[in-house]
Symmetry: C2
Subunit: 237 residues, 2 copies
């Protein structure tokens, strides 16, 4: 854990009146994990974190307990907290669930997507096209994430969004994770276009099928498919 300063200089967390330290610190540690400042398997030192944030260990421990329940940390008694490592087997299971959730989001959104939502998603697809053309993965990756996230949010089921979000986060804890290979970017974005078309055409079943398949292809790419724990997860019925 080696990022020199606190994330936001607005971490003048002393003039907060409506949020506890534990809350702030939980988000801070979350960000450290997401940004790679804290890697899977790594040990989380309470005293060090407390010192970095300029607080005592109490709030840090509360934050860690929260992160334990969201599957980001693992506690070992008398040894402390460690960033969770997601095994290949777990990753396969998470991908399968994520595929179902994403498909469900499509089924919900298709009959009710607004023009504004469509434009927002289309803009992301366009931007991804540009990034793909430039082979700029660093630009493509967050756009891709935003596309998926927005789509799930537009589906309008908060519990679904939360479950999906957690899947994405947990997959970040899988070491051999989604670094989209050069050639796949354009191809993957073609799938995005097909998905968006199905949504715009108000075809729930087709949107669901395409979106489930889209995630399962990502799974296959990263896990080599053979590792699939779910023979019947295929989108055809």
């Amino acid at each position: 854990m080696e990022s020199s300063t606190i994330r936001n200089s607005e971490a003048l967390l002393r003039l907060r009146r409506d949020v506890s330290l534990a809350e702030v610190i939980r988000q801070e540690i979350e960000h450290m994990i997401d940004s790679g400042a804290l890697n899977p398997g790594e040990w989380v030192n309470e005293a060090t974190l407390a010192a970095r944030f300029g607080v005592s260990r109490g709030p840090v421990r509360e934050a860690c307990r929260g992160l334990e329940q969201t599957g980001r940390l693992v506690f070992i008694v008398n040894r402390g907290a460690f960033v969770r490592e997601v095994t290949e087997e777990e990753a396969a299971e998470i991908y399968d669930l994520r595929a179902v959730l994403f498909g469900f989001a499509g089924r919900l959104l298709a009959p009710k997507m607004t023009e504004a939502q469509h434009e927002e998603l289309a803009a992301l697809v366009t931007a991804m096209d540009e990034a793909a053309l430039a082979s700029d993965i660093d630009r493509y990756y967050p756009l891709n994430l935003a596309f998926h996230q927005k789509l799930v949010a537009f589906a309008g089921n908060r519990r679904l969004a939360a479950s999906y979000e957690r899947c994405v986060q947990e997959l970040h804890l899988f070491r051999r994770r989604a670094l989209i290979p050069e050639g796949r970017m354009a191809c993957s974005n073609d799938e995005h276009k097909a998905i968006l078309a199905a949504l715009a055409a108000r075809r729930p079943a087709m949107a669901e099928r395409l979106m489930t398949a889209h995630v399962l292809r990502a799974k296959a790419r990263i896990l080599g498919d053979a590792a699939g724990t779910t023979p019947e997860t295929s989108p055809m019925r």
Copy 2:
């Protein structure tokens, strides 16, 4: 919050060497919520709980932070923790997600259910038949819960099981919750039989359809259907 003693007399939690107090207390509070000793909206007094468990407030706070992240408690700064109240709107969303998850479990389990698993589920159906015949809801309810839970567990996707479990728990926080009316018991168990038959026949698509519909019927019964936030959630494609 009015249960006189601590749940287990084995709560001689002093001779534990491999689990932290926070962990024990989290489970204890969880049980208080599930058992109705702590109701939605109710305030969770740290000092009182600490006293009841014979510990200080530190571990209690850690436990509560964990429960906050699992959606059981809600923190309000400088006012403490409250048992979460799930609104009717949220309940509808959770039911929809749960229907999808349960259906997915069926799709996974159908092609691979073992004889032993089949017998275990069949035994529960038989027991529910007896309870239904006797109009004994108190006996029916936990059997019903076990049937669903086992089925999801047998599907073999731990992430799915966790998500499903959380849905069930959150629905417990919805006030007007699933008290199966007399007449529905036998009817509901008939659906269980159909589900079990589809699983035994190794028909994933049919199992999924039946299981999704089974949950959506529960939703309709409790929420009055009209409240359905998801017009396209219907099992037909």
